[in-house]
Symmetry: C2
Subunit: 584 residues, 2 copies
């Protein structure tokens, strides 16, 4: 037996007991007369002590130890003279009788403690050591706890967790698939699922009624900051439901999670139409922890001979509370910030609402104090506030103002990670026009149902059709999204037409779903949550990488075990493949 107790278990009640502990050497302090060893495992840290009463052989063994050695220690629990309130075992220590080295350790490449000296790359290469750090492990423990809470909630609500295949058929719609050559079917490939979309709809056709799955999904995308080639989704689908049923169910789940995991009661989730989110927040994932809404001031600022505004499609403004005292340097900084290529604005107009009721703006040449007063009224600015204005193409400026709004909130500390403001964004457009390919794309996916009242527009103004689609947004992060599905083959065919599929393409790609719909498809709707993002949000982290045990880097590499890697020629031969690497 390697241990009688864990390193987080012993208390004052255990005084006098002989115990055996196993764990990692966190720290050794040699104080001459006494030596202390902090022994660590997942459950905590226990202090081992050697003093003048300890057998000399133990002292000798102790000299062989180093950081991160795995040892087994036998000793008697006794009370500490100076208690440590920071750890749960801080009232006791172990007077050592013997120790045994189970595994020595080389000097680790960085220190295994909350404030480590290891850089990102080093910690990724030695991920198994980084995971020893309590802060990192806690994230993974949170993840496990959240997965279990989700399952408890959905199982209790009658959902059946059903595994769908990982080796599926490639579909060119959506992001790029990872593919898997089939040895048994030469020249053919499986794809890894970007989501189990079609399978969950088939389960509804099969009468499963309520389906969910916490499931790995895959996208072969050029990786941006917070993307991983494999990620985990809470994937759900329900039959005989309308949009509000889905939203109620998953609002229930989300509120349960906040309560169960973080002990936080969140308010009811508001529903915000997509158009409102774009107009007021400049984003389809508005951060509603703070106001600072975008105001369209086009009407009131035009016609004063300021050509920049007069020629602009749209002029929008936000009001930054209490920022009237921003210095020239700060304002220049903001101007440069919005001129960066990522934002791409031409410039930034400001109005300071001075404490004495006057206004000072960068366009004083064109606008009187009365004019600027109108701006203040339109943006709700009071004395002490700063109005920031941008002008140009409307969609572009909404994006830019949305970004500026977040930047100002960052500067003002309005984005508190301990505050959670969830909302539903609804009524998304059904279709997005792509200038390059001159065709419509499905904004959500090709199975999303239009709002019934907008169906006539499919023939006349497809771009204006709204979808029965919805996103759950929390603190400016899109946590999940879904839609009511089309369950009628005719409407689905019409959608495929609009998306520019030929009959053959639609048949090849989605034929089996269309066929399934011929045998009595129930009305159904669903949603998928990004589980990594949800955990990262709950953990107060900025990236999903920290809530994944073995993440990949931005080139899709696992730097710890050096994957992907070349494979043997025999493997390629068996798969009927030849490599065709282009010279650079």
């Amino acid at each position: 037996m390697y241990r009688t107790h864990t390193c987080g278990e012993l208390r004052i009640e255990n005084l006098g007991t002989e115990v055996t502990l196993s764990g990692w050497v966190q720290r050794i302090r040699d104080l001459g007369a006494m030596t202390f060893v902090d022994l660590r495992d997942r459950y905590g840290i226990t202090q081992l002590v050697v003093d003048e009463n300890t057998d000399k052989s133990v002292t000798e063994d102790l000299e062989k130890l180093g950081r991160e050695f795995v040892i087994q220690a036998v000793g008697i629990v006794r009370e500490r003279s100076s208690k440590n309130k920071n750890i749960t075992t801080g009232d006791v220590e172990i007077a050592l009788k013997s120790i045994q080295i189970l595994s020595p350790s080389a000097v680790p490449p960085f220190t295994i403690q909350d404030d480590t000296d290891g850089g990102d790359d080093l910690r990724m290469k030695y991920r198994y050591l980084d995971l020893r750090r309590t802060a990192v492990r806690k994230n993974l423990e949170l993840r496990a706890k959240m997965a279990h809470a989700i399952r408890n909630y959905l199982n209790t609500d009658g959902f059946i967790e059903t595994e769908t295949p990982v080796l599926i058929k490639s579909t060119p719609e959506g992001a790029r698939d990872f593919v898997v050559p089939s040895r048994m079917n030469p020249g053919e490939f499986y794809a890894l699922p970007q989501s189990p979309q079609m399978f969950k709809q088939l389960l509804m056709v099969a009468g499963f009624d309520k389906y969910y799955q916490i499931v790995k999904c895959f996208r072969d995308e050029d990786l941006r900051a917070d993307r991983q080639p494999e990620f985990t989704q809470i994937d759900c689908e329900m039959s005989f439901v309308e949009q509000k049923d889905v939203l109620e169910t998953f609002e229930g789940l989300t509120r349960y999670m906040f309560k169960e995991v973080l002990d936080i009661e969140v308010d009811e989730f508001p529903w915000m139409p997509y158009s409102e989110a774009m107009e007021k927040y400049g984003s389809d994932k508005p951060d509603t922890r703070f106001e600072m809404l975008i105001n369209d001031i086009s009407e009131i600022v035009k016609g004063k001979n300021f050509n920049v505004f007069d020629s602009a499609e749209y002029i929008g403004a936000i009001c930054a509370k209490g920022c009237a005292e921003y210095t020239r340097k700060q304002l220049d900084g903001l101007t440069n910030w919005v001129k960066r290529p990522q934002i791409g604005a031409k410039g930034l107009v400001y109005v300071k609402c001075n404490a004495d009721g006057t206004y000072k703006s960068s366009v004083d040449k064109f606008y009187s104090q009365e004019d600027l007063q109108q701006w203040a009224e339109a943006t709700g600015a009071k004395a002490g506030d700063l109005i920031l204005v941008m002008s140009g193409d409307k969609n572009h400026m909404l994006d830019a103002l949305g970004a500026l709004r977040l930047e100002m909130a960052n500067q003002l500390g309005l984005r508190d990670k301990k505050v959670f403001k969830p909302l539903w964004v609804v009524d998304f457009p059904l279709l997005e026009w792509d200038e390059e390919s001159q065709r419509f794309f499905a904004m959500h996916h090709p199975f999303t149902s239009p709002k019934p009242e907008d169906i006539p527009l499919l023939d006349t103004a497809p771009g204006k059709v709204r979808a029965n689609a919805y996103d759950l947004v929390i603190n400016g992060v899109e946590i999940g999204g879904g839609s009511v599905r089309i369950f009628n083959s005719e409407l689905q065919s019409k959608m495929f037409d609009l998306l520019g599929f030929t009959k053959e393409q639609a048949e090849t790609q989605f034929g089996f779903l269309m066929n399934a719909f011929k045998y009595g498809a129930p009305p159904h709707a669903g949603i998928a949550f990004g589980f990594d993002r949800l955990v990262s949000l709950f953990a107060g982290l900025d990236t999903i990488r920290d809530v994944i045990a073995f993440p990949k880097n931005n080139s899709g590499r696992d730097v710890m075990n050096d994957a992907p890697a070349a494979i043997a020629k025999e493997q390629l031969d068996e798969l009927n493949l030849i490599l065709n690497i282009k010279e650079k």
Copy 2:
């Protein structure tokens, strides 16, 4: 709102209520004055009625219905005149006020009921219709229930469910990997995991202490009857444990599952050494629901001038209780059965233990009644029993007798699917010698620890070294297996040597695990259960295919959606691949 109640919900307490139900038309019975419609959903069946009091328009709507139409029905709950005790809603029926067709259905290719007329191929092609059958859906519901019970048990026991990557590095050891070309890393491939073996060991190095995961695994094997290219594993690993700790934990889990899911109390699991399983049952996965042990009778049958026995390495016998009356035809049948290529025995000797105490055998020419009496004593045969004897190469004959034992038990109805006899098979050989490649293979895997007392044999007689490896066997099915791991780099290097790896190969393939072991690896051990098999065993089914929502056929094809399939040339180009299909 599509429904106020499900089709399994209404009871006598609901009499008089107006309800709205939605579901599939299971059956329409037109009795002239009255018409009955059975409406089905996942939760049950409710009878809808139209009679002389029903509005005529409803009767007309009814005429448009066919089997598997999805409808919404509104009506009043009333008491049935003739109750149906077979269904939970059998006391009531719905007097229809209106119906609406939500989705029509073409005539389904087979009937959606427990006894269907659909053949295997048809049901696989229309799997979404097959899944509508209650019997099939129940298997998937059982699967979900079992997964949840497993998670409850292991979470309560302090295990952390941790997701490990699906896109990993290919390792040539073990079965064939599925590989995934990396677009971002030209010429390189990920592999899909055959198991998360190395990652779970790294999690132990990381101090996770208790890990589990219910996880998809992948093997590109030529598919036999009960194999799938993707399958689900309950994967576990524990630190600071010995073999008995692991066995206790997972015996606990298994007993909990039997109790929780099937309400069955199973006995404590016996531990049987591999050698005993082979000698007495002719199998490393003995079916212990019945005795009929194999007896080595080599010593007592030799030396009677029967050349077949005298020249054989081994002569073994089983006693089939109550089979002394087997006819000539039955005995010939058994002889042909053992001569089939799958068994490959040369012949079968029998001894009938007659009711009068005499013996009748196929080798009466060589053996006296006294001789045969000895055989009976050695095999425990009594009057009325049949002794079956085979001779030849020992390992081959143990296999053959093991198979014959199962066949006789099938004939005698001794393999009751409602009886469960779990046991641990322990002390497996560490290594298997492969004649063809003239090298040792790891019987379990290269990280399995030898039994400490056998370590000296590694240098002198590696084939005799026993491993700290174990299998959970229930009713002749291997449900899971695992081992205590090597956690010492030196011993691990020695294992790689024995397995014929060069230093470079070992470094390339397992280097990152070996490196991890240098930084303080705890003693650890683990196990993995085949979840599909466990569910199939609990469901009393013969194949895992029936407990998988969307299984593949023996060529690894999903015949429903026709995967795998060709992919676009652009996809191949992006992946730097050229197809190289050989002409047949």
